[in-house]
């Protein structure tokens, strides 16, 4: 396999070859975790799938918070492309405001670049307050903002004073870091500094938060449905269908479930340090993983009622879907998959595919870090390079007033052996021997590896969906779910199974080659006409 990979990359110029081979690893042995290079700068001209820091901050983390006005300070494109394109669903609750159908921008013009855009930003905030009277406002910076030196922090501070609502500035210029990842970090920092912990609700029993769950296609709602049924009280989901009010109270929960490790692990860690709330790595994608996660959670609380109820709900939910899951498994069993998603789904969906008898033979992330590949145990060995060193690292201290000891030291240590408590093992451990793992996969490699490994199905995003479909391989989006969903939880697993089976079995595949290309067409030639010419 190693030779095959090297042959695939032969076309690269020397420098590119040298760099790319560090980002492609083969898991040669079952219990081996080879080291990968990740979270480094993108090679210019390589046709990456990556986006930018702004997309990670505003597009991913902030955007879904439904009751805040998110103003994008920049020319129109940045806000336009993040308008309704990620399917982070939200419901309007009576009397509350939902801004997700709107796109707010300062629409910077040439004069704003020349003379600075602070004045326009100030005016835009004023107009937003007058029109909508929101509870809070975010301002996201885009590429030119940092270059021309607009001080969005000063403008935000001034507006906060003036209007008596929180106005948060995010310096998430597109060129920061090397991918969306930097934006996650920047968003996490500000939410932690300014929003989490300022609420004063009285928590109920069994209170939890779900972190890194963006409610794509209603995933968060499906997860919530099951957790509610067992008896948990979800304080905040960050940030799918999330609200400012809920996030303020996130420090009141007893535990954090972390679905997307990459985008939210900063907050999970900081909440643990500051408020003493441990986190558990969750995975609600896949039937077995969902069950496992529910059991981890019940075990965490160690409450007999919860443990019993958990098993009851699992039984009920399974009864609802088992027959149909079995039906789809029969249809899909033995096929192979290629997964290339952002920073977490490439791992999570392998579990769901396993439920359906599909093996993942190649996978990768756009912008994950080594810990998402190799597990959190490698964090201390990760070096920060020049492209990432300007992303602010914030340190939080124990909050003397709100810090709680939720688990005794002994219980913490005991649980740590049983459940992924404040731990994530990464994608590599989950993969089979001989599978290929690629970081920051580009267009050339997508084509090559599809040709070499011939997977039956490809799961990625919109930019490569049609490329791969044109190659004759079933291709589904795992960012937008091809406008379907939910895919999470028990019911979601079934929706996913149905969608995949539809993709594999749609009759159109049989029509790709016209019949006249495979059947002899000699009979009935128009000889006379031919002669007449």
């Amino acid at each position: 396999m190693k030779k095959v990979v090297e042959r695939a990359l032969e076309k690269y110029p020397a420098k590119v070859f040298k760099s790319r081979k560090e980002h492609i690893i083969i898991k040669e042995n079952e219990d081996e975790v080879p080291e990968i290079t990740a979270n480094t700068r993108t090679i210019p001209g390589i046709i990456t799938n990556r986006g930018c820091c702004y997309a990670g901050c505003k597009g991913v983390v902030l955007g879904p918070i439904k009751d805040m006005v998110h103003i994008v300070h920049g020319p129109i494109g940045c806000s336009y492309y993040a308008w309704g394109t990620r399917r982070n669903k939200a419901k309007v609750i009576d009397g509350e405001k939902n801004f997700l159908e709107y796109c707010f921008s300062t629409d910077m013009q040439e004069s704003d670049i020349v003379f600075g855009g602070e004045k326009k930003l100030r005016q835009a905030i004023k107009e937003a307050v007058e029109l909508f009277n929101p509870k809070a406002i975010t301002i996201s910076a885009t590429c030119p903002v940092g270059l021309i030196g607009d001080d969005i922090n000063a403008v935000a501070a001034e507006a906060q004073k003036l209007y008596g609502i929180q106005v948060l500035a995010f310096s998430c210029e597109g060129y920061k870091g090397v991918s969306q990842s930097a934006g996650h970090h920047i968003a996490n920092n500000n939410l932690m500094k300014h929003v989490i912990g300022i609420g004063d609700m009285k928590p109920k029993k069994y209170s939890i938060n779900i972190l890194g769950e963006y409610n794509i296609g209603g995933d968060g709602w499906e997860i919530k449905r099951v957790l509610d049924k067992i008896g948990y009280n979800i304080i905040a989901i960050m940030t799918g269908d999330g609200s400012y009010e809920d996030i303020k109270n996130a420090h009141k929960a007893d535990v954090n479930l972390v679905q997307c490790h990459r985008s939210i692990n900063y907050i999970a860690e900081m909440i643990e340090t500051k408020y003493g709330i441990p986190w558990i790595k969750a995975n609600f994608i896949g039937v077995k993983s969902t069950i496992e996660t529910l059991r981890y959670l019940a075990n965490y609380f160690g409450d007999d009622m919860l443990i019993e109820k958990t098993e009851e709900v699992i039984k009920e939910e399974l009864a609802d879907i088992e027959g149909q899951m079995e039906y789809y498994k029969e249809k899909l069993q033995g096929r192979t998959a290629f997964l290339y998603v952002g920073g977490s789904r490439s791992h999570h969906y392998q579990e769901l595919l396993k439920d359906l008898g599909v093996e993942t033979i190649i996978s990768g992330y756009e912008f994950a870090h080594r810990d998402d590949y190799e597990g959190r145990e490698v964090i201390s060995t990760i070096k920060t390079d020049a492209d990432n060193k300007n992303i602010e690292e914030i340190k939080v201290e124990k909050d003397e007033k709100n810090y709680r000891v939720i688990l005794s030291k002994e219980r913490y240590e005991k649980l740590k052996k049983e459940i992924p408590l404040s731990y994530y093992g990464g994608i590599i451990k989950a993969m089979n021997k001989n599978s290929v793992i690629i970081d920051d996969l580009n267009h050339y490699e997508t084509e090559e590896f599809i040709k070499i490994l011939k997977p039956d199905m490809f799961f990625s995003g919109i930019k490569d969906k049609y490329v791969v479909q044109k190659m004759g391989v079933m291709s589904k989006q795992l960012h937008s779910y091809d406008y379907s969903g939910p895919y999470a939880g028990f019911k979601g697993a079934l929706v996913f199974a149905r969608d995949v089976a539809a993709g594999v079995y749609t009759p159109a595949w049989k029509y790709v080659t016209p019949p006249w290309k495979t059947e002899p067409m000699i009979e009935g030639t128009l000889e006379e006409e031919g002669e007449a010419c």
Binding site: R41, E127, G472
Partner: protein, 454 residues
């Protein structure tokens, strides 16, 4: 839906809400895809490139290839020269296009990268080309970017070699591959030799064959762009998208030009064909006249559902202007006409049209947005909304029949195969408009008023 939009219109000078435009580079990327074997390249940080590819892919449901300089913070401070040079080398080695068409973003424009010089210093293999257009996102809109890239093609490539080719150059403007195909069909129907620049048909409407072809069959060939300098006339369809390229071709290669409306609707198509006929002395063939007659037949057959109906139209200036003219010819009243693209020429042209048709009390605005359009509709409702996918929220909120028209259409299939231009496109539009209106009548009328024949 859109519950927070107040009826009362307040003046906004800074906060843009729900724009009716996007930024320059996506237009340039689209134009560059209209060159055969071209890889568009975005000189900025990679988020732009991903967003533009994403948006185009969602509109066309087809692969959209482009590369990027992937600026880091360092490059953003010290200049992106080495990023672009590295990119050019990598692109030619790995992806082997015939030509790279570079556009810029607000990032590289703000730092002032000198593209011409960087390209001159780059390693470009023998017989291959690198061209560029400056497309600052903080000026104009995606239409400006399209226009800039077409101009870039002419400025870099077109040459008057003193050997007239007897061809007419047509710059079709920011329209879909289905439209470009229809315009080519009309040109062919008259037996004309022509160069269409750019041409995305065969690129963004490519067939399923079981093989991915990074550079599909379609696109204007480089030698055609070069040869455009030898054509005897340029027809620029749509002044916002196409005039700059045509003017450049006149300046550089002395090719005379005419600027016409995008041929949407009966008047603009008549003008287009008449211009061709006058320029070339060729007749308009019978079967095209027959199509026109069918369109007029349809206009008469369906007029009672359309007459005096109020329409709100939004989108890109050239196509919105032509659509306004068309709905006037259908006896409808363009109540609100709006583009997000700035430019006073838009208002003047549309207002003139309304005046000539004797329509009073309409609102025309450039550099407007959908938030304001929605507010107008709350104050004085319309019977039909026409525009891109983003209009569906307004249509649902106000329960107005909605016709998807323009760019982008993200939520329907097959539209990019089919024209809105020419008489055939106009027939399709009348079908779409009447369907939208009749569907609503069918859905909402009392049961006793439900009609079999309409």
């Amino acid at each position: 839906m859109l519950n927070l939009t107040p009826k009362e219109v307040s003046q906004r000078s800074a906060l843009r809400i729900n724009p009716a435009k996007t930024c320059q580079p996506i237009g340039a990327m689209y134009a560059a895809l209209g060159i055969h074997k071209c890889l568009p390249h975005s000189h900025g940080s990679q988020g732009c490139c991903s967003y533009h590819r994403m948006q185009l892919t969602r509109h066309f449901k087809d692969p959209v290839m482009a590369s990027t300089s992937s600026f880091t913070e360092g490059a953003s401070v010290f200049g992106g020269g080495s990023n672009l040079k590295t990119a050019i080398k990598n692109i030619f080695t790995i992806y082997d296009p015939e030509i790279i068409a570079v556009h810029t973003t607000c990032l590289s424009e703000t730092i002032g990268d000198d593209l011409k010089t960087i390209i001159l210093q780059s390693e470009v293999p023998e017989g291959k080309f690198v061209i560029h257009a400056n497309t600052p996102s903080y000026v104009g809109s995606h239409i400006t970017g399209f226009s800039g890239m077409v101009k870039g093609m002419v400025d870099y490539l077109s040459v008057n070699s003193g050997k007239p080719n007897g061809k007419i150059t047509v710059i079709p403007g920011f329209i879909s591959p289905g439209d470009m195909k229809e315009i080519k069909r009309l040109l062919l129907s008259m037996g004309l030799s022509f160069i269409m620049l750019p041409d995305t048909s065969g690129v963004l409407d490519s067939p399923m064959t079981g093989e991915f072809n990074m550079y599909p069959k379609g696109g204007t060939k480089i030698e055609e762009i070069v040869d455009a300098g030898n054509s005897y006339h340029t027809l620029a369809l749509g002044k916002f998208a196409s005039a700059a390229g045509a003017i450049s071709l006149e300046k550089k290669c002395k090719v005379p030009l005419s600027v016409l409306r995008t041929p949407i609707g009966i008047d603009a198509t008549d003008q287009f064909l008449m211009a061709l006929s006058k320029l070339t002395g060729k007749d308009i063939p019978d079967y095209i006249e027959e199509e026109r007659g069918q369109l007029v037949d349809l206009m008469l057959d369906s007029h009672h559902y359309l007459h005096d109906k109020k329409v709100a139209i939004f989108g890109d200036p050239d196509t919105v202007t032509a659509m306004t003219e068309f709905v006037l010819s259908l006896g409808m009243i363009p109540k609100y006409v709006l583009t997000g693209t700035p430019g006073d020429g838009f208002n003047a042209e549309v207002e003139e049209m309304l005046k000539n048709a004797g329509v009073k009390g309409s609102t025309v605005k450039n550099a407007g947005d959908l938030f304001e359009l929605h507010q107008w509709m709350k104050n004085e409702p319309v019977d039909l909304l026409m525009g891109n996918t983003h209009g569906k929220y307004v249509a649902r909120a106000e329960n107005v029949p909605f016709v998807r028209f323009g760019f982008p259409i993200l939520d329907r299939y097959a539209h990019h195969y089919l024209p809105a231009t020419g008489y055939m496109g106009a027939i399709r539009l009348v079908e779409m408009i009447t369907n939208a209106i009749l569907d609503k009548m069918d859905r909402e009328c009392a049961e006793e008023d439900f009609e079999l024949v309409m």
